[in-house]
Amino acid sequence: MPDMTGGRFTAGREPRMRLMGFVLLIGSMTFADGPCSLAVAAAATAALFLLSGISLERVLRRLMIPAIPLAILVIVLALTSGERILLGIGPLQIRTEGTLFGIYLIGRIVCIITTVTILVVAVPFGENLEAMRGLCVPNMMIDILMLTARYIPVAVEDMKVLRRAAKLRGFGHATGLISFMYSLPMMAGSVLVRGHIRTSRIHAAMILRGYGDGNRTDTHERPGARDILILSAFASVSLTLILLSLKGL
């Protein structure tokens, strides 16, 4: 499972405080819609990126996913939104308002996706889940997430094996849509039935090993002064972002 291994940002920090800090920051970044608020969001993102030690390539890979539809939106906005003409290239007129809006949109998206990537990559997934449990996310939801995380690689592997088996038996050689539609429902149904039987055992084993709601114990340490300081820093940046946005800056 990519991007869920984690490893940094964990030493000596209370998981609930860290998760709360990140959630506050990511949420407040949606407010960044002006030059000042965007600069604050960018500075906070850059600081987190440098502290996290994750590779730039990993962040860029994540940023590439929404890149094409957003690029189209930004180009359309630059050409259609606003009254003032920034630049005229032949019949095309690039408008100031649309261009600015596009820049703010891209800036905001880069900041949010980078921060989310840092949270997901630099902190172990299990630790984030336990932090969520500590922050009163329903236990059933945490158990579902935990068991799903455990079962996703199994389901993906099962699909691959069944597809290979179908090909060996002479089905699904063609790559067309009709061939896919012939074999895919049977494979999906088989994986579902197998999984239904198998996950019950996985769930029981997880509970026996001490995971899940049935074994819930409050293992979180009390937050120390350093944790509270870090949360305060996150909260201050978030508050600044919201205030700047409310003032239209």
Binding site: I65, T80, I112, V120, I144, L177, P185, V193
Partner: protein
């Protein structure tokens, strides 16, 4: 169908989370009133969530491009009232593992994708009836097709309404946001493919494991 991080204004993101919270709480309560058994319910939701996730990775060739399945109709048929937690979990994994969708838009995406899935499940139950017998092949496949096609088509309509309402607020001119009215048309091929896929899958499940799709085994 997934709205990415940063596109929606904060009020909509917060509203989406609030509404998802309410809908989730209600669906869990209603679901628990049925035949609730935690040691069976949680694994079933988890396996369906994993399937929902895995099927979104399967790209079907549709020249000149390819599409991926959503499987929300199938999720609704298998999980009924528990569709929303499964879709929420599935979208969460898609957001954190592959960056499809986003964490700030998770609430809105869950409503847009999950609610039609839930309605699909109810539609399938309604169409296949509550009798003590398994409906015939035609009945099951028709119900599967309708429920499977209903989910993506309704999601595309919800997304269109959302985008047409939100984009002008965020500064996008109405002439641009108005073009999203064609979105359901763009999702029409997916709607048909989802319908066929769901019909064939529920037919398979009705033969192999009917209780998984809420059908009772015919003892007569």
């Amino acid at each position: 169908m997934h709205l990415p991080d940063g596109l929606l204004p904060p009020s909509i993101c917060l509203g989406g989370y609030a509404l998802t919270g309410i809908a989730l709480s209600a669906s869990l309560r209603i679901g628990a009133k049925g035949s609730y058994n935690r040691s069976e319910t949680v694994p079933t939701i988890a396996v369906m969530t994993a399937m929902f996730f895995s099927l979104s990775l399967v790209h079907l060739p549709l020249p000149p491009s390819s599409i991926h399945l959503m499987a929300t109709g199938l999720t609704g048929i298998v999980l009924g009232w528990y569709t929303l937690p499964a879709v929420l979990a599935g979208l969460f994994f898609q957001a954190v593992m592959f960056g499809h969708g986003g964490l700030t838009t998770l609430g809105v995406n869950t409503l847009v994708i999950g609610l039609p899935g839930l309605l699909s499940g109810l539609l399938f139950r309604f169409m296949t009836g509550r009798g003590d017998h398994i409906p015939g092949k035609a009945g099951i496949m028709t119900a599967g097709f309708v429920a499977g096609a209903f989910a993506p088509f309704t999601s595309s309509i919800l997304l269109t309404i959302l985008l047409m309402g939100i984009l002008p607020i965020t500064g996008v001119p109405t002439s641009v946001s108005g073009t999203t009215i064609w979105l359901p048309l763009a999702y029409l091929p997916l709607t048909v493919i989802e319908g066929i896929f769901t019909a064939a899958t529920v037919w398979f499940l009705s033969r192999v494991h009917p209780s998984l799709i809420g059908l009772r085994i015919n003892n007569a």
